[in-house]
């Protein structure tokens, strides 16, 4: 073992090693063991008179293809494909130091979010009594810490942090500066739209200021879907925790109602916003994205449902006389369809040829379009009949926005299936359209209260 490894050979071995390190099923120790083997072979071959280069090639060849190797390792260590998401990497190294810091920052932000929702209580605003205040401000407790977490992760420069702070200040102003009665329609609209408006601010933090880029926007769409799924999972877990806690304490005669509703539930929910985001970031690339998987399952089902509904509506001839409650359901339905559309697009291989699934998408979009037109007609007739109100105007605006998106998406899908429009146009259409949602949400939050005289 007294061979002088020249630098060329060392570089080659280093390349080979980094190639192994990219395989998740091969741990560092395994790579080290294999490298030792490779070096032994090379030593033997060079001693037999081969050049370094040749010896390296032969040794690598003898080792077998890395694909085959990882397959064998996977067979033996199947668990490794499952257990990738560890809180911190087991080995020491710069990567794990970084992930430990990341964990600490995340916990800090989560705690900040949890504390934030209790802060107004210091000024006498109790969660139980001032529900409207909390409803309007809900997104202002958790989303700034979430944006702070991303600002830290993306090493956002100070100017970027300033911009984020300014945008969140706008949010605070919008939620609290107008003289709104607690139960005014516009107050409720603010409570509904401010989270959306601020979610786009978080998006600015997520994209590290690079929010003009298509790719980054699409990443944020993906992130949003995954975040939502993780949040729901955490909420389920939290529900079980709360149920068990309440039950266990009740068994020994203690009433935990107040602790749960005043502390555990609100603080937990706020912290979960940050934790879910961290989970998405941590598991990125490790586990298959869930949102597109769910879309695959539900797109055909929703398409079938919408077609069935349209069929039934034609059959019973009950088009226009849709009342208020069903209108809201239809709006939700349209938002879900849009979500299905977005996540299908986010997961589709841009180079793939148009297939049966794209036709299915087109069916879904077209039937959603028809339903959207029905809803629009119903809203318009209500506005003509009863005059406009903040709610009806907001619904009208949102349906028009959806209609535009769905109509153009349908057109682009048609082009895609016919082979006249590349998939990238559909993708860019959706990512560009995000700006419309953002502008609309901010407009509802800022402009609606004065327009409708704070009603």
């Amino acid at each position: 073992m007294t061979i002088n490894w020249d630098t060329d050979l060392e570089t080659q071995i280093a390349e080979w090693r980094s190639y192994l390190h990219r395989r998740r099923e091969l741990h560092r120790a395994d790579a080290e063991e294999l490298e030792d083997h490779l070096r032994s072979t090379i030593t033997e071959l060079t001693e037999a008179g081969l050049h370094d280069d040749e010896a390296f090639l032969v040794a690598v060849k003898r080792m077998g293809s890395v694909d085959e190797l990882s397959r064998e390792f996977t067979r033996e260590h199947a668990d490794r494909l499952w257990k990738q998401l560890m809180l911190t990497a087991g080995d020491d190294g710069p990567a794990s130091a970084r992930s430990r810091t990341d964990l600490r920052v995340m916990i800090g932000c989560a705690v900040a979010a949890a504390v934030a929702i209790k802060a107004p209580a210091l000024f006498g605003l109790e969660l139980g009594d001032d529900g409207f205040f909390y409803g309007r401000n809900l997104s202002l407790f958790a989303l700034p810490p979430l944006a702070a977490y991303f600002a830290w992760r993306r090493r956002t420069p100070i100017s970027g942090v300033g911009l984020l702070a300014l945008l969140f200040t706008f949010g605070v102003v919008a939620a609290n500066a107008y003289p709104l009665a607690d139960d005014a329609d516009t107050a409720v609209l603010t409570a509904l739209h401010l989270p959306i408006a601020l979610w786009f601010v978080v998006g600015v933090a997520y994209m590290g200021g690079d929010w003009r880029s298509d790719r980054k926007r699409m990443d944020y769409i993906r992130f949003t879907g995954e975040w939502f799924i993780y949040f729901v999972l955490l909420a389920f877990g939290g529900g079980v925790l709360i149920g068990l806690t309440a039950g266990a304490f009740e068994a020994i005669g203690l009433d935990t109602q107040a602790v749960i509703s005043e502390w555990l539930l609100p603080c937990g929910a706020m912290a979960a916003v940050v934790v879910a985001a961290w989970l998405v970031e941590a598991k990125q690339g490790v586990i298959e994205n869930m949102a597109p998987v769910l879309t695959r399952v539900f797109t055909p089902l929703f398409a079938a449902t919408l077609l069935a509904f349209l069929g039934a509506a034609i059959w019973t001839n009950s088009w226009i006389d849709i009342e208020r409650e069903p209108l809201i359901i239809f709006d939700f339905l349209l938002v879900v369809v849009l979500g299905l559309l977005l996540y299908t697009i986010s997961a589709r291989d841009p180079a793939a040829r148009p297939g049966i699934f794209d036709r299915l998408q087109l069916t879904l979009v077209v039937s959603a379009l028809i339903i959207d037109i029905m809803v629009l007609l119903a809203i318009t007739s209500r506005i003509i009949e009863w005059g406009s109100s903040p709610n009806k105007s907001a619904a009208l605006g949102e349906n028009l926005i959806l209609l535009t998106n769905l109509a153009w998406s349908a057109w682009l899908f048609l082009g895609l299936i016919r082979g006249t429009a590349p998939f990238a146009r559909l993708e860019r259409w959706q990512t560009n359209y995000l700006a419309v949602y953002a502008v609309w949400a901010w407009a509802v939050v800022f402009a609606f209260p004065p327009i409708f005289a704070y009603a």
């Binding site: 073992m1 120790a29 395994d30 080290e32 063991e33 294999l34 030792d36 083997h37 070096r39 032994s40 072979t41 003898r62 080792m63 077998g64 085959e68 190797l69 064998e72 390792f73 067979r75 033996e76 260590h77």
Partner: protein, 122 residues
């Protein structure tokens, strides 16, 4: 002569255990020994030995430790455990049975051939 994949796979465990029963060793040396023992007939793709060693370790037949023989680079050594020795004995019994059976059929086959060969000629 090319030995089929199935045979290589089936004989891998007793070979590795047998080598480790003589003395503790590491992957590269084990492969060298296999090659010498079979006069180069048994060819393993080098990398595939390690998943096998890891499986034997998980099952408790061998245990491993790291050592740096030249003081520079550390190397993973394997040694057989009591359980591994028992496994080896069991494998040996099974292989013995297989080899006996095969030997029986080979001699029977060669006997038939020596009898039937002249008959077909005549």
């Amino acid at each position: 002569m090319h030995i089929t994949k199935d045979l290589v796979a089936a004989s891998a465990t007793p070979l590795v255990l047998g080598i480790l029963a003589q003395e503790e060793s590491y992957g590269y040396a084990i492969l060298k020994q296999v090659s010498e023992l079979s006069s180069g007939q048994l060819e393993w793709s080098d990398g595939l030995l390690y998943p096998l060693l890891h499986r034997l370790e998980r099952l408790g037949s061998v245990e491993s430790y790291w050592r740096a023989p030249d003081g520079v680079r550390r190397r993973k050594y394997y040694r057989i455990t009591e359980q591994g020795r028992a496994e080896l004995a069991e494998q040996r019994r099974q292989w013995g049975a297989v080899v006996d059976a095969l030997r029986g059929i080979w001699s029977a086959a060669s006997a038939t051939r020596t009898i039937s060969a002249p008959a077909s000629e005549g």
